[in-house]
Symmetry: C2
Subunit: 211 residues, 2 copies
């Protein structure tokens, strides 16, 4: 039996596989599962279309690989800040910052996620359940803070929903808002988004801290 040269094979494989992953990431995020074309991904990766199928048998499998990777890359960062041992005000500050940072770097992410969780909710549910994400610990943390009287008492589900909504929505609805609020001026909208780093915090803090 012939042994493989692990080094050579893996370098090559990793290169192509990574090229495909990168290309698929780009195309899927822009066009979504339905709108993306295998040929376009192949072009983006600078390879033959058949090679896609050689590495990821089907479009579905390629899509799942990208989807899961996005999920794995994005969520842990956020969870970490939320469960650290710092005062609630700083914690929220950091949380919102890291959330907005993530979205600034991945502007297509919100729309992509919203699109795909509607297209195939079951698959999405499985990804979450298999990823060990557990929001209940975050909800518990919020309830504890309310019990201590640090923040106004409310349904913690509402609070977490509101924070995410205020952070995510302006990115998800960018084309709509940039037209309606700034007549399509992209630069003005970018400034608006950056300023929201602070104004969103103010808004939330006013809503939840007792005075």
């Amino acid at each position: 039996m012939v042994k493989l040269s692990d080094k050579m094979n893996n370098i090559k494989k990793d290169n192509t596989e990574q090229k495909i992953m990168d290309a698929a990431h780009t195309v899927f995020l822009k066009k979504g599962m339905d709108g993306a074309r295998m040929q376009e991904i192949a072009n983006e990766a600078g390879i033959n279309k058949a090679l896609l199928h050689y590495y990821f048998r089907t479009k579905q499998k390629l899509f799942e690989a990208i989807f899961k990777q996005i999920f794995k890359d994005s969520f842990p960062i956020i969870r970490k800040t939320l469960l650290s041992d710092i005062p609630i005000r700083e914690k929220m500050d950091l949380f919102i910052d890291s959330y907005i940072n993530l979205l600034s770097k991945n502007p297509f992410l919100p729309a992509f996620l919203l699109k795909e969780i509607h297209r195939d909710p079951e698959f999405f549910a499985n990804v979450i359940k298999g990823s060990g994400i557990n929001p209940s610990e975050i909800l518990a943390m919020l309830e504890k803070e309310m019990g201590k009287g640090n923040i106004r008492k409310m349904n913690p589900c509402d609070l977490i929903t509101n924070i995410i909504a205020l952070s995510v929505f302006p990115f998800a609805a960018k084309p709509l808002l940039s037209i309606m609020l700034f007549n399509g001026d992209q630069k003005a909208y970018k400034i608006f988004l950056q300023e929201r780093r602070e104004t969103v915090k103010e808004f939330i803090f006013n809503a939840i801290f007792l005075k």
Copy 2:
């Protein structure tokens, strides 16, 4: 020259055209432009596929018709309450109510709009510009209220964005939130959404009214 029997022709035409519009509405909202199939719309309408093309030459034209209609039906209701002559607190109360009512009746609307404005932002921009929607009057109204000291001073663009975000996001992200917060329990999520009618208002009022 032969005259038409307007009555007969229009009744027939209206019937079929309406059947097509209804069917297209259903299918497009669920699947989006990319995911929708002309055959599926024809089936849903109970007619031949060729008849779709007879009434709306292309898929694109049919889609545009539906899209514009959705837009025309949805926005004026909201604008009306916002520009009426009642105290700001009641006004916001009504605004949020009518917004959430609209979304409760059209749960697919937010995800659909977000999907499509990303797919073809230019077409979307044209629809808005051609629809006479003018957010500047709403922004002006908010600024006036701030000037009178009725609500906390802030960027009115932020305020309107926040209100819409808090109202829309839970509907847009339903599959995500219902899994993460309620382990996929749809009924619990519906109750959550209904309760938000009040909790969202509290949250916003706490954020913007001085105490």
